[in-house]
Symmetry: C2
Amino acid sequence: MPDAEIIAIGSELLTPQRLDTNSLYLTDQLNALGVEVVRKTVVGDERERLTDSILGAMARSQIVVLTGGLGPTEDDLTRDAVASALGRTLVFDQQICDQIEARFRSFGRKMSEINRRQAYLVSGAEVLVNDRGTAPGQWIDHSGVVLMLLPGPPNELKAMFEHQCLPRLGKVLPAQAIRTRHLRCVGIPESDLDQLISPVYKQYPSVATTILAVSGEIHVHLRARCPNANDAEALVAEVAGRIEPLIGDRIYSRNGDSLEKVIGDLLRSRHATLSVAESATGGLLGGRITAVPSASDYFVGGFVTYSDEMKTKLLGVPAEMIAGHTAVSEPVAQAMAEGARARTGADYALSITGYAGPDGEKIGLMFIGLATPDGSEARRVQLPGDRERVRMFSTNTALDLLRRKLLAAPGK
Amino acid sequence: MPDAEIIAIGSELLTPQRLDTNSLYLTDQLNALGVEVVRKTVVGDERERLTDSILGAMARSQIVVLTGGLGPTEDDLTRDAVASALGRTLVFDQQICDQIEARFRSFGRKMSEINRRQAYLVSGAEVLVNDRGTAPGQWIDHSGVVLMLLPGPPNELKAMFEHQCLPRLGKVLPAQAIRTRHLRCVGIPESDLDQLISPVYKQYPSVATTILAVSGEIHVHLRARCPNANDAEALVAEVAGRIEPLIGDRIYSRNGDSLEKVIGDLLRSRHATLSVAESATGGLLGGRITAVPSASDYFVGGFVTYSDEMKTKLLGVPAEMIAGHTAVSEPVAQAMAEGARARTGADYALSITGYAGPDGEKIGLMFIGLATPDGSEARRVQLPGDRERVRMFSTNTALDLLRRKLLAAPGK
């Protein structure tokens, strides 16, 4: 199987403010075909450095993906550098020029003279149509090395790769099938999860297993590669079938859905509504729940009670309870959830109160409250990290508490 | 002035999930010394590919920064690859080994045998002390090329670069001073701002000017480089002195402070308090305000009123007003802000209601309400982008509306 390299082109990608993120998408796509990315390079808009990078990559790898530098300005040197690296000429293509002109016309604009630069092809290249921008891509087969010239804007690049490059790669690469499983888990640390499942996945060296910690959640990726699809599917199903029972109900999704999407679907299917009462998170939990389109089907709203006074005034938490237990306590978390449920009329209410820092001995101590039609409860958790992480992680804990409760509860 | 290259080492950095972010910090630091980063490379944990990358970088650039691959396991090959690229040997250093052992002892743990690998130095290298981890760095001057071997974990890398590398680079690099200005602006699109200030900055080719769009805000960076500090300061002050009046009060900070930090400081200095009422943003505005430590000095809390019913029930927005104008309207935004102010007793209240999508003709139409001790108002804005961007950008608009009001208002 050939290896790939990715070269991202653009001086802005060499500043302290910008990263090449296209390579993540491209790596994902190439890996799915069974191709490993063995090197990534970022170079600026300089002809000689760029030509040198292209020659180096071609000497090492059989697939070279170049992104960026296909625009109309003098800074856009990818076409020139590739032609120069391959010892080929650039050829003006009237048909491409007409397409670019038509694209401008369709927006009621006139094509500038400089856009003619984008109609030059490396001699012998196939055009990769760009249906989302002016810059066409190019596909070049040069003595067994495939070069792809793709535009920098992510939406143009993704559409072009999917529609133009994948079919061409399918013809070039050896037949093989990849089948995957993505398990998203919550409520278990990365190292514990690894310890739990490594005795299984280590028995399957032909299945690539990746364990990733993402914002306090753990994602497990399994990838089986076989010459035919049935074998790959059978293999990944076998490994998943042994791993999933070990993780159990800490798996919250198998299709890439976020935790907030999962609880939304659970609420909708039960015709139940949700409200929130947030202290330390200041609205992050509500913000996350409403990031899901159509959250209005089940989310009614709630309260941000950052001061003690607001906990009493807006949620009815007794001032004596706060005085006796402090605002960061199990009874207050529970009373906040009960208050939010009563005052909104929602079926469920989640609350968060805690110490988010940045300073203080108790940083990371959080209480999560949950009020339901059948009563209320509160959980104490000690979360790791700084202010930002503690606040984000506590919304995971809250959503997971609700998820488990909903899974156990029948619909209305 | 010499050029630099950065090589990030680690197979995990070639997966679809991970990016090398250390290079952003390093680029910022190197740029501040006047050194440009001309290439960035990511390579996996493979001896030959790594050695090849090091040789390539040394042939092109006078400063080569390597990050990662200094751990104790067999995957950690940076030391070996550098030794092999330079034709030098690896030498065991008992003193480093003792330090690593002492570090483990201080945590009440015993050093593993494999950690001895971290006590090997490339022959002739200077040790770069790591006060935050076990892996020491190395500084090598090889025929006029400087190589820095730095650990991958960002906190270890940053401390080592700052304390160990900067002083050494100061001796190696030609004397020069950099002086900068960072202007953060809101309420103007990137292209309009560029048009406004480009006639000025184009007159100063020796001042590097960068304009960046970040989450709906615009950041302007000016960087003047001169042989001495006084000249650099005078030059950057001159350019900033001509640019700032053009942008005017759309500049909200000159010291890197976020918009939420700036409004927090304004509120605190006026002994004023703030509350919120959020519909489309579901809590994001409150979440953002409370991301600032000690926000409890001025932020009391508020309401998430996602459904129409909650706008009436929790904020007292008349149901007839919603029926007559829809929930996404100027009067409702204003009534939400007034309701939040009255029900919390805060001096100020901000509200957000709008269409965040993902679908529908009116996506991006948002109304921002502001209630103050002197009355209330609402603003209509049409924001670009998808659901996530519209929600985030509308919190900018809300915070900026409050900022302008506070700047015009005297303290209590």
